[in-house]
Symmetry: C2
Amino acid sequence: MRIFDTVGMPNPLRVRIALAEKGLAERVEFVQVDLAAAEHKQPAFLAMNPEGTVPVLELSDGTYISEVAAIVEYFDGLDGNRTLTGESPKERAVIHMMHKRAEREVLYAMGNYFHYGTPGGSPTLETYKAPHWAGRKEWGALERERGINGMRYFDSVLRKQPYVAGELFSLADISLIGGLMFAKISNAEIPAELESLTAWHMRMLERPSVKHPA
Amino acid sequence: MRIFDTVGMPNPLRVRIALAEKGLAERVEFVQVDLAAAEHKQPAFLAMNPEGTVPVLELSDGTYISEVAAIVEYFDGLDGNRTLTGESPKERAVIHMMHKRAEREVLYAMGNYFHYGTPGGSPTLETYKAPHWAGRKEWGALERERGINGMRYFDSVLRKQPYVAGELFSLADISLIGGLMFAKISNAEIPAELESLTAWHMRMLERPSVKHPA
């Protein structure tokens, strides 16, 4: 299997954490995609993933899988032991819900702030992000505010339980880690009063799969 | 189990189609939420779902599940026969990927167009949608364009296979049906040249679970 990704970016990192958690790093070959040159917006890449996002997993039969949750579903199902996405219907529902909240309320919000409210990535990349839209900076600021509100929500969750989806580490934690990475590269720090979120984040950064992802 | 929803809206419809597919309609009691009065943005509702969206599933132990994919995961796992979300790791990955694309590229795009590019829902509801943001109409128009591009993508997919994720009906079809419903209430018709998407849509509208959802 091959994964098309870019070292140092939040979404590829999410998959690399999952691979380390599952002990599958050795079964995957990584192919680097040059985001700064907008390689992921060119026809050859779009033929693999029409949304033009990294990472993309290529299965041995040539099937391409994009979307982090879909890639994690794949790896988590291989060994019949769904440690990241849950076993029972209720576990699976809670994990998918909390993963989605982390993506939408923090990761996407901060990703939008990064591209629209800050200088973002390379000038070449930003030409693909509606550069002539007059409302882009204001929207970026609204998205930053939404991301900070998302952090407040997760602080309230983590005041009551050790992990984002309850008692166990899961895909939902991985997605929030990715979201906070996007916040960090945008200089949108976690507000100091969010002590439970900060404590959880420090604990996560020491977790072996996060400290040494695939 | 109870579901807090609003008859006639795309996201609640997605769950009702899934319930009809699984034959579970009778196990659920529906509670109507008044979207026009922004009931889903008030504290009592936000305590169930802080994102303020319908539908929300309440399990018998009092757990609240929001997010359509999470709710469908729950129902699909109850009978040990995952007809909507797939059995093998590859099936599950493809279905989750295509579901996500349908959500992001059509459903969310057209939902944003509805709220920001058209008069949207009730005036009360729209006060929760950044009404003073100068860029809102332009953003709505960009989102409409993105949604139409999403339709073009799914037309190309459905030229090659009978269902959104391949040979079988799945969560991915349900999400695209929801997306096209948002397009319809925004008067963003499917472009006439997208014949495969149109033919699939007409076939879906005749499917028993879509014609007679829970």
